[in-house]
Structures are given as structure tokens and as C-alpha cells.
Subunit: 190 residues, 2 copies
Amino acid sequence: MKPETRQQEIIRVAAKLFKEKGYSAVTMRHLATAMDIKAASLYNHIESKQDILERIIISLAETFTQGMKQISESNETCINKLKKIIELHVHISSKNSYGMASLNNDWMHLESQLTYYKKLRSDYENDFKTILEDGIKSGEIIHAKPDVMMFSILTTLRSLYIWIPKKEVINLKELTDDLSNILINGIAKE
Amino acid sequence: MKPETRQQEIIRVAAKLFKEKGYSAVTMRHLATAMDIKAASLYNHIESKQDILERIIISLAETFTQGMKQISESNETCINKLKKIIELHVHISSKNSYGMASLNNDWMHLESQLTYYKKLRSDYENDFKTILEDGIKSGEIIHAKPDVMMFSILTTLRSLYIWIPKKEVINLKELTDDLSNILINGIAKE
DNA sequence: GTCTATACCGTGATAGAC
DNA sequence: GTCTATCACGGTATAGAC
């Protein structure tokens, strides 16, 4: 493990503050106080407040894109692909729950990178929907609206960052299995 | 239908802006421009920016509390209670998708009403969990962790405000039924 | 790499004329 | 009920000393 650079430290602390109050409500002075330095000193390590937001969001979004590429190109069944997607979200959300908050809530404050972010997101959703549609064709998945199914699963996965830090027990394998079961098989008996 | 008061109009327009950019990023000058008046004029109808946020969030939170009270006190089966909850969320989210954005994303910017809001939310979640636990006892619902089940269903319902306005067709009955089926019975065949 | 000092602008809100 | 004018404050960011 390389030691964390000062820039990485700033980004990590910023992400934590962004999660608590949102990008717009966090000031450079707050961030500086949390880092125990003066606001002006931050600018030796980052270019601007916007720069911090970009580094948080874009790297996460690209990680999801990469993960989805591997999953959608694999030869698994559709149900197994869905399980891999759930695993991907649990894994990333547990590693970086602060960053996930920005990804979910503050993407609209991106400036020059907004279009790029939107493309990554829409590509991801298209791949997700294709998996569901293939599953319907092959008979693995019920014949319901892919949009509604994707919405239901994806909003749950996108909210994991709220929920994972609250659980004392961080048995990620168990959480992945429980979620897979509930999202795929439902909660009703029989 | 009584005609909308100027105050109600301000709150409605503010909620729309809050949904797009978040409470902190919306300025009184933006809001005034959207209302086609000057910022100072807003203060004839509302006390402060905070006042607007409170009016949006607290009235919605209280509506949910009322709805949950009726449902949890009814003599329905647990599965039917869950269906009623889904219906409640679809109904409120379709009537006030802008306000739902603030309820979900900007509650932490409440000041004097923050504690009250948190109590309403935690009461709601406790009632929800009790319904699930009763369902497990009675054998209607699988023996899985109530926390995980509630998280999964509730995050989906809480995100409806993002999704409902995107659907051209606003057949709410159909959406309620589709969601009930997916959330309760899952998406896997058999 | 951090500091002090500061520039410059936008913020929420108020006073008082009309 | 809306306006203009204004206030006190806090926002991001830079310059230059150490």
C-alpha cells in the first residue's frame, strides 16, 4: 500500500463532507477546517472545488462501467449476471460509501464533465436493461416491464451507500446473498 | 378547487428548483427570476428560504405518517398492507414529485424542524418493519432479515419521484400493480 | 506546503418608496 | 404586492511571504 497523498486525503475528506451536506453546502473553508489547514492551502493540491467533485464522481462512474463490461460480456446466465451486478454494487459501495453519495446526489453539479458522466450512466443502464431483456427471452425472468424491474433493482443498489455504513456487521458476502435473494426471488412465501 | 395562493405558487416553483439543483444551490434570486419578480418581493409571502423548505418537507412527511397509520391499523393481511404502502408512495410521488425530491435529498438542511422530521421518519420505518415482522411470524413472508427487506422496498419507493415523471404513460394503477408484483414476488420465473 | 491578506462576487434578508 | 437600494456576511480563489 502506498501512503495516501495529500490530494487523496483531501478528496477522501471532501467526499465525507459532501455525503453529509451535499456539494453545494460544503465550503472550501469547512473542508480546510476538517483537514486542519487554511482554505488557501487546499489549492496547492487541487485545482478547484469542481476539480474535487470530478475526481470523486468520474473515477467511480468509470469503475462501474468497467465492472459492467466484464459482466455483460461474460457467458453467465442472466440471473447470474444480475447477481454479479449486485455484488459489484455492494463491493464498490462498501469500499467508498462517501463517494457513492456524490455519485448519486451531486452529479448535476458537474460542469465540463457532465456530458461524459451522463453518457457513462446511460451506457450502464442500457447494458443493464439488455441483460433483463435477454433473461425474459430465455425464460429465466418473468415477462414484466424491463424498465420497472431495472428501476426497482437499480434504485436499491444505488442506495446501498446510505445503508451499508449503518450495519455494524459488515459481512458483505451475506449482504450480497440476502439482497440477491430478495431482489430476484421476492419476499413472498411460495 | 380554490385558486393557488401566491405563497403556494412560490413553494411549488421552489420545490421544482430544489429537485433540479438541491436546496443549497438554489438562491432566492433564482427563485425570484422563476417567479418573474424580484427577490425582495418573495419575503411578502414567505418568512425565509428555510421556511419554504419546512413547508415542503414537513407537510409531505406528515402525509406519509397519516397514510401509514391507517394502513398499520387496518385488518388487512401483511402482504395487502405492503401493497397499500406501495400504493401510498405511488400516489404521493405522482402528485408531488418535486416535493418528494426535497424530502429525500434536502431534509438534512432543516434547522428547527430537523428533530421533528427525524422522529416522523423513524416512526414510519418502525411501523414498516413491524408489518414485515408480523408477516414473517404469520408465514406470509419469507424468513429473511426484515432490515434488508425494508431497505430494498423502501429505497425503491423513495426513488419513485425520479422515475414517475419520466414515464409518458402515467397509468398509476398499472405501475402500482407492476411494482407490487416485482417487489413482493421477485423477478425470477418459478 | 502552509500561512496571511485580500480581491471580487453572490448570498439571504431588510427598509422604505410607490 | 412589488420595487430599488442596501447591508453584513461568507463564497471561491489568488498573490506572495516564509
